[in-house]
């Protein structure tokens, strides 16, 4: 453990934590998206899937705790490294100019923090029922918790959908830099594959953002009722 | 004064072994009690400091740059020679020795040069072990190129950055010793004075270039490896900071200055564009393998080079030296270029340039091949001149490049002041009147890695460690001299900038003591230079203060020494009434402009002794004896 702690103290070690946790979060984001997309397959599919997840019982809690730890580790490392980076240049340049860095790259902490804020809201909204306690009481005809209705009700509110849409654009943005960066951080760099690594981030970012956004849009457009 | 070269007797192959076997050693337990000062962190100084540190001595190493990694050795491009005979093309220690002797036009000491050739192979071994990424063949073996007209391929290289890679290797070893605390590094520190106690070199006075503090350091021996003084000509291929200060101030304390007038001029540099020019950039000589040198036949022909038809071009090197053509020796082709420009045929701004034309080679081999061979050089040329040399011929002109002269040293690399050792370009020892390409790097490393560890130990073994403390009056006195000099420079408060004096001095020296020297010109220079110096001390304007980072003050100190050195150079050039190597006296040449050496009267090293300010220095002679080689005429016809 102390070896691991020591590793996390170093800049490159902390970056590895970012990369590994980022990848795990990315995996979660993909899985979560696939599950959510069941909304297009109808009420029974989505609710059945949600029910199966809940049935996992203790395992679900394990996954939740792991996700929480991973998320906190990602955020914690991010903030620590960010602080160090800011301290590394106490006096800014009078003229700022760049040659190649991207907007997504320069704002990665900001997009991350906004995602964090969004995640808190999202949990309160759908998971904990803090904003809308009535959602948790919804039941479908089969007697299962009605996740499908919850989504439709939730996204019928244009303002709420707006928040989700913006957040998902930010997530896409975050991943467009983050994922490409992942390869470099863990040492994957090879002239033959670099063009591919370079594209993975932006492509995954766009796909994920479109995938998630499709749900509130479909609700707003009345395609999912 | 009798100059003892201390070259051991016996057959040349075993002189160094013999000397090493006779040398005294320092007991390992005592080594850490000895302090050694090494001024300079280039190949010579860096290697010496690191090796002495490894051996266990306590070393203080000094350089004026912000890091030892920036010494001017970093700029060497072409490569480093070694008699490895990896190519099986007939190379041997003897051949490298002979080529170096002949290259130096038989004005160097046989024993030293032979030792250099002997040590060359071990240098490559050492460098590879340190991680120097030399060029390799596909099979993983080291690659070689031929260089500077040698008939064998014995030059090891790392792209066009051989000096950089060697220096970074040395720097890494130095860093290891700094981390091990055997070496204390003092960057941004300039040596001001040598301290001599009871006739022995026992310390130095320095100025901290950031705070301006004057400090004294006492040691059991002092090693100077401060590089070359080519910037005495103002424009040269050397770095802006290269100087003569350290060795000149040692000269003033009694060390002899040998062959100061032997300064090498490199034929392929990018020409001057105007008064603002601050330094000249070397283009590797390898370009001459494929480029053809020409000027318009008619003086003042200002046509675009591409419009000048074949019959109006004079490929003068091919014409005058048909056997070697564009590959004629450095000094020969430099002088030929100057002559063309003097005749008004020079090209480019100011008419100081000749064409180096690749169009034939591009036609013959294709642009791809030329790009592969010289792409980085063409890029560099483009960066500086804004011209595309694939389309328009390059313009080149000779520039001052290397100082063969330096402090006089014996076979042990010790000057006539006991305890004062001088290594690398700062000494005079191995290159005679002209240096072969790729042999300065070799010399610096041989001196630092393989000679000084023995010879310095031999000296120290005869000395009681820590015998002299910095509290001795000699140190205070030397410190005061340094302070006084700085005070004087700052108090002139005249009207002209330091650089303006430097530029003026450079022009005079280039004009009268450059590629071609004559009695008349030198006599004239000996009148002008003291006049410039006089004005300098009355009219120089040095801004800023003594107790801060003050680049103007640094420059002023260096230029003051250059003004003195320039006079010494002219004295030396005037006294050497022969032509040899790079030293061409107009009076001593054949009808075709070939140098006429005078072995009967001038087969000696000129070693100058300082006699005090305002006094003419006195010439001491170390006769050169040749037991092994046979003095031959150099001919490139």
């Amino acid at each position: 453990m102390s070896r691991f702690a020591r590793l996390c103290q170093t800049s490159i070690g902390a970056k590895q934590v970012m990369a590994v946790t980022g990848l795990l979060l990315f995996g979660f984001v993909i899985g979560h998206l696939l599950g959510n997309l069941l909304v297009f397959a109808g009420r029974d599919s989505l609710n059945g899937y949600a029910h199966k997840l809940r049935d996992l019982g203790a395992l679900l809690w394990v996954v939740r705790v792991v996700l929480l730890v991973v998320f906190l580790a990602h955020v914690g490392s991010a903030l620590r490294l960010w602080r160090l980076n800011r301290a590394a240049r106490p006096e800014p340049y009078a003229v700022e100019a760049h040659l190649v860095t991207t907007y997504a790259g320069r704002t990665i902490v900001m997009s991350g923090l906004l995602i964090l804020a969004y995640v808190v809201y999202h949990l309160m909204h759908f998971t904990l029922g803090a904003t809308n306690p009535e959602y948790l009481k919804l039941m479908d005809p089969k007697g299962l918790p009605d996740v499908y209705r919850m989504m439709v009700l939730g996204f019928s509110n244009a303002a709420v959908s707006g928040v989700y849409i913006v957040a998902m654009i930010l997530l896409g943005f975050h991943l467009s830099h983050g994922l490409t960066s992942f390869f470099q951080t863990v040492g994957l760099n090879h002239p033959a594959y670099n063009p591919c690594f370079k594209r993975v981030g932006p492509v995954a970012g766009v796909v994920i953002a479109i995938g998630y956004i499709s749900i509130p849009l479909a609700v707003l457009a009345g395609l999912v009722k | 004064m009798k100059l003892e070269s201390k070259v051991p007797s016996g057959p040349i192959e075993s002189k160094w072994d013999k000397r090493r076997n006779e040398m005294r050693l320092v007991n390992p337990a005592n080594k850490r009690r000895y302090r050694v000062i090494v001024v300079g962190s280039g190949l010579a100084g860096g290697a010496a400091a690191a090796t002495l540190g490894e051996m266990g001595y306590r070393v203080d190493c000094f350089c004026f740059q912000d890091s030892p990694r920036r010494a001017h050795s970093i700029a060497a491009q072409g490569g480093i020679n070694a008699a490895k005979n990896y190519q099986n093309d007939g190379d041997s220690v003897y051949r490298l020795f002979y080529d170096t002797m002949k290259g130096g036009d038989f004005r160097s000491r046989e024993g030293n040069v032979y030792r250099l050739a002997q040590l060359s192979a071990a240098i490559i071994d050492q460098c590879v072990a340190m991680g120097v990424p030399f060029a390799r063949e596909y099979g993983g073996q080291l690659a070689n190129r031929s260089f500077g007209g040698a008939q064998v391929s014995r030059t090891f290289y790392a792209r066009g950055q051989t000096g950089q890679q060697l220096l970074l290797g040395v720097y890494a070893e130095l860093c290891r010793q700094i981390a091990a605390k055997t070496v204390t590094m003092h960057p941004r520190t300039e040596m001001q004075e040598l301290v001599v106690v009871d006739g022995h070199a026992k310390g130095i006075v320095t100025r901290d270039l950031v705070t301006g503090a004057i400090e004294t350091f006492a040691a059991d021996a002092v090693v100077l490896a401060t590089g070359g003084y080519a910037p005495v000509f103002y424009l040269s291929t050397n770095a802006m900071g290269n100087n003569v200060t350290a060795i000149y101030r040692a000269y003033r304390k009694g060390a002899l200055f040998a062959n100061p007038c032997f300064t090498q001029i490199h034929p392929t540099c990018i020409p001057v564009t105007g008064e603002h020019q601050s330094k000249l950039t070397l283009m590797s000589e390898s370009l001459r393998n494929d480029g053809r040198i020409w000027v318009p036949k008619r003086a003042g022909d200002k046509r675009d080079p591409r419009q000048v038809p074949e019959e109006d071009r004079d490929y003068y090197l091919e014409r005058i030296y048909p056997a070697y053509g564009n590959l004629a020796a450095r000094d020969v082709s430099s002088r030929a270029a100057k002559r063309m420009c003097d005749e008004g045929k020079g090209v480019g701004p100011g008419g100081l340039g000749v064409y180096l034309d690749f169009s034939d080679a591009i036609k013959r081999l294709g642009e791809g091949v030329i790009r592969e061979r010289y792409g980085n050089l063409f890029d560099m040329y483009e960066r500086i001149t804004g011209e595309d040399a694939y389309q328009v011929p390059m313009r080149i002109y000779p520039a001052v490049h290397y100082a063969m002269g330096g402090l006089w040293v014996d076979y042990d690399l010790m000057s006539n002041v006991p305890g004062l050792f001088v290594l690398g370009e700062a000494n005079f020892s191995d290159h005679g009147a002209n240096r072969l390409g790729a042999s300065a790097l070799m010399q610096g490393l041989a001196d630092g890695y393989f000679v000084i560890p023995y010879t310095l130990s031999n000296y120290l073994a005869g000395q009681k460690y820590g015998a002299v403390a910095a509290s001795r009056p000699e140190f205070r006195q030397a410190g005061e001299e340094a302070q006084e000099r700085i005070r004087k420079l700052l108090s002139v408060k005249g009207k002209r900038s330091v650089t303006s004096f430097h530029r003026e001095l450079g022009k005079v020296l280039w004009e009268h003591c450059g590629m071609e020297r004559s009695r008349g010109g030198l006599t004239k220079a000996l009148e002008i230079v003291p006049a410039i110096r006089e004005e300098f001390w009355e009219n120089v304007k040095v801004t800023g203060g003594a107790k801060e980072l003050n680049p103007e003050l640094e420059k002023a100190g260096r230029v003051a020494d250059f003004l003195d050195l320039a006079e010494l150079i002219c004295h030396d050039a005037l006294a050497r009434e022969e032509s040899c190597g790079c030293h061409l006296r107009a009076e001593y040449q054949t009808e075709e402009g070939e140098a006429k050496r005078n072995d009967k009267d001038y087969c000696f090293v000129s070693a100058w002794e300082h006699k005090g300010p305002g006094q003419k220095p006195v010439l001491q002679k170390e006769p050169l004896e040749f037991e092994t080689v046979h003095l031959a005429e150099r001919s490139y016809k």
């Binding site: 040659l99 | 290891r176 801004t543």
Partner: protein, 248 residues
């Protein structure tokens, strides 16, 4: 041409500095940027003012001594060019040029445009070498090195230690500099015996010096006058992971 320069002036490490404007008249396009500053300095001296201090030595792009952030870009931002090789023909008459020192906590300003880069030396002290005493080396050809490895090592070893990577990195990170040395020696068999201590030691020192860390902006690679590639950073990351996981 005529230019307006805004140059950072700061007397010493303790005092605060500021940008000061100077007119640079009759500048020739053939001058290098440093020669242009020489001219400005000569004129300042003539007026009895203190010239601008800046670091430089070889003036041919190899010693790594020159620095300067020009209009926000280290070494002016031209491909494979140090400030000393940057020529005025790339500027236009009437341009306003802002000249600042490298900005990094690890590179404190010494005076005007001069900064203290000894942090880089200390990183090398922490392991950027092969321990091999003079005299004991085996024959240079005893250990063949594949040409490709030698070339890759050379690509990394081309680093001149100027610090442009740090200056240009939005995070003030020295990863490219440190990686260049780690990767150079990791590509050669001679570097292998010490590869683990080397990367661990150097990264540790890099962190101690107060450099930032890498978030893959790749600005460093873009301004690097020797075009050292960020692939060496990836290589260092691999070396670091390997050393952290495997070594005692």
């Amino acid at each position: 041409m005529n230019l307006t320069l805004r140059i950072w002036r700061q007397r010493n490490a303790q005092e605060r500095g500021s940008l000061v404007s100077y007119e640079a008249k009759d500048i020739s396009p053939d001058m290098s940027f440093l020669e242009m500053l020489d001219v400005v300095n000569e004129r300042l001296i003539a007026k009895g003012e203190e010239p601008v201090a800046f670091d430089h030595d070889c003036r041919e792009g190899i010693c790594g001594m020159c620095s300067l952030v020009i209009n926000g870009l280290a070494h002016g931002g031209r491909r494979a060019t140090t400030t000393c090789q940057l020529h005025m023909r790339h500027f236009k008459d009437g341009d306003v040029i802002t000249v600042e020192p490298w900005r990094s906590r690890a590179f404190p300003v010494v005076r005007d445009l001069v900064v203290d880069r000894t942090a880089f030396d200390r990183v090398i002290h922490a392991g950027g070498f092969v321990s091999s005493n003079a005299g004991g080396a085996p024959d240079a050809n005893a250990l063949p090195v594949p040409r490709d490895d030698a070339e890759k090592a050379m690509d990394a070893a081309a680093c001149i230690g100027c610090g442009a990577c740090v200056a240009s990195c939005p995070n003030g990170s020295a990863m490219l500099f440190v990686a260049a040395k780690v990767s150079h020696l990791a590509h050669l068999p001679q570097g292998h015996p010490e590869r683990a201590q080397r990367v661990l030691g150097m990264v540790h020192q890099m962190d101690l010096e107060g450099f930032g860390n890498c978030t893959n902006h790749t600005e460093c690679e873009a301004v690097c006058p020797k075009e050292v590639s960020i692939s060496h950073i990836a290589k260092m990351n691999r070396e670091f992971i390997r050393a952290s996981v495997l070594e005692a």
